[in-house]
Symmetry: C2
Subunit: 195 residues, 2 copies
């Protein structure tokens, strides 16, 4: 990678981290410049507009999510082991990437659902892509014989996504010390019902 | 109720509706004044500060949630019927109250989890109260014999809350036409596992 690409990625990693706490709407070039101790004009040279910065942050968050959660899980065998690995990586990814506000997708989703425009459009496309990856892994688990043939794979993906949203709510907002235990217990019930 | 109280409630209902779309952080006295076509100084006379407005919005949202979701459900018999009614009322409350951005708690939770202060403190207290009400209804359902004796009632409440967060994500962000069907199917599975 060129030095320019490195710099851009380093800036965007900090922007993902910041936006996990203050949201995409609060992520102005001025605010990011202050955090990075850079000049606003230097940032402007990279991103040109707040909207372009927001879009770049979403793209960088997806690269990070694919590299930390999805691709490592695909090294596990197809079927239930791969779904377990996705779940484990997902629980850990914000921490692994030094993202202080927890999973930024939860923040972005609640924030952008009523803000029409290109940023929302990209987020929706990314989230649909993720739900598609999840459902496809569940279909593989059916094909491998780990899960029953009549399983509704999209319903499984929906319920797993729900459990992760519940975990974020319980751990990050309520500070419940057993939040992760509850998420794991819900996940085990989901697997049991799928077998 | 006095005319002053009526006016205050009417202002706060509009503020709840607005904050369901733009969040609590975006809810300034100036922005609300524009929406209401009121003078900013008139609003200032009611709320004195943005923080006081945010706290009043949370209190009003709770009154609305208790009056639309919780109290009507308590007219249903204890046990599973009451939990079903809570679920139904919860699915409908944002619509019933003309709150355009869907359940404002989802918005507030994602937004405030990294914003320490009195607003977050009140929100956490309210959300813990709600989880307590849910878990208590589940314990009643165990006592009534609708659910099995060894059921983990707090886990049930966690999973039900998760399903609602998943529904909001799927319906409001992804615009999935079967989001409600999925939430209902997840709810039926939860009930079945609890019996």
């Amino acid at each position: 990678m060129s030095k320019g690409t490195d710099t851009r990625h380093a800036i965007l990693d900090r922007a993902v981290a910041l936006s996990s706490r203050i949201g995409l709407c609060g992520l102005t070039l001025g605010r990011l410049a202050t955090t990075l101790e850079m000049s606003k004009s230097g940032l402007f040279a990279h991103f040109a507009s707040k909207e372009n910065l927001q879009l770049s942050v979403l793209e960088r968050a997806t690269e990070s999510f694919l590299g930390t959660v999805v691709r490592p899980a695909f090294k596990a065998p197809r079927g239930e082991p791969r779904i377990r690995q996705l779940f484990e990586n997902w629980l850990r990814w914000a921490e692994a990437m030094n993202i202080p506000g927890g999973c930024p997708w939860v923040q972005y989703a609640a924030e952008m659902d009523d803000q029409p425009g290109p940023v929302r459009d990209l987020l929706v496309e990314q989230q649909k892509g993720w739900m598609g990856i999840l459902a496809e892994c569940v279909r593989r688990a059916v094909a491998e014989g780990d899960f029953r043939k009549n399983l509704d794979c999209d319903q499984f993906a929906y319920e797993l996504q729900s459990l992760m949203l519940g975990w974020h709510h319980s751990a990050r907002l309520l500070g419940d010390p057993v939040a992760e235990t509850r998420a794991r217990q819900g996940f085990e019930t989901l697997l049991k019902n799928a077998r």
